[in-house]
Symmetry: C2
Subunit: 248 residues, 2 copies
Amino acid sequence: MRLARVDTPNGPRPAVQAADGWHIVDDLLAPDPVETGEVVALDATLLAPVEPRVVVGIAHNKALREHVLPIQAWLKSTRTVIGPGVPIAARRDLGQVNIEGELAVVIGRPAWRVSIEDAFDVVLGYTIANDVTSMDRVPIDERNFEPKAGRGYTPLGPWIETEVADPEAIDMLVRVNGELRAASNTARLQSTVAESIAYATSWLELDAGDVIMTGAPATFVPVEPGDLIELDFPGIGTLSNPVAEERS
Amino acid sequence: MRLARVDTPNGPRPAVQAADGWHIVDDLLAPDPVETGEVVALDATLLAPVEPRVVVGIAHNKALREHVLPIQAWLKSTRTVIGPGVPIAARRDLGQVNIEGELAVVIGRPAWRVSIEDAFDVVLGYTIANDVTSMDRVPIDERNFEPKAGRGYTPLGPWIETEVADPEAIDMLVRVNGELRAASNTARLQSTVAESIAYATSWLELDAGDVIMTGAPATFVPVEPGDLIELDFPGIGTLSNPVAEERS
């Protein structure tokens, strides 16, 4: 099942995808969302599928054998979250900007000190996150605040896929202006998706709608204003955003 | 003017303090909140005065001459925010737990790349934050995730005071079980309140309801389960919370 937030004449509304359109529901995060009877066309504008209260990033989680640092986490501002198609405002005044394609876990229920074995029990579904980063600030700010705080630095979407056979084996294709620039798989993550959920919730209580960005297994690419980014994760969807330039 | 969120039979409601009680309003963050006509007793239970989308902590901001590190910032989970009187669930399994009394800036409008000179223009008012920290994780996790993520680790309140003559000269008294354990003033912060607002918004766009914790100028004290903490900031109010122990 695909869950989304669609832009309607009445404002943003949660919806479930069906063959004839997006069926508006009362609450995307409810155990059983109730359809209101309204249907919106399948080509409606999609917004970020959740408005998380917390976005957790998993640190050092690159491809296998690229590093040996233990797992860590950090928080990204929820105000950097944007939906599909919305421009990323690249801070070119801060040097190189990278996009990072990451599998995003959407939490579905209260999650506190969850074991690796039970990790998937707290998951509502999966979407795609683009963890945009001003790379030249990374070595300067070990707290990850300066590199990760730009406007539009967290594209999220296009929807939440609740039926994912194996989140530990998701293909991840990164295209820039139509050209394939990276091809990886969540199986290459040094810390698994389940380990990341267990680690994050061993310190921080999460709840429905929160997001864990699980890391970039060689899915990062330097970009420039004018580029069009497509994160194509077969079985989940494609998240596409243009890169603009921060000017204000 | 004091702005609060009060617990009512109809759920949490925003309110403005008057001589005869808390006057319920439509929207605490509106430029001119409209009173609904309902009045709640002055001794009503107060909740955290805002539900911030972002809580920014200012790093290294201790007392003058205690350190020479440049200003940094980090994000604290909004899910750690609790109201006055709610127990802090101290993670004693992680070693020493400190409370930290801090002046909390509540942002009132979109705030992006604000100059030091204009910093106070984006402020709605001030409240008190207790930036509870598991100290033994600080040297282990330079990203500040592990030390700062415990349940109830960010008491906030008791209300937002909008009329503060000089936020750079707020007395800060920390009492534990009635005994004065620290006495300081925001004038002792190495980075000023205005500098902290300018720094945070130079990287991250904030908006109404967001909170900046400005740092602890020698206002940190080790605590134990069973302690009662009072952060008494004359001119703003007193934030009081008991310390319990995380057990789950």
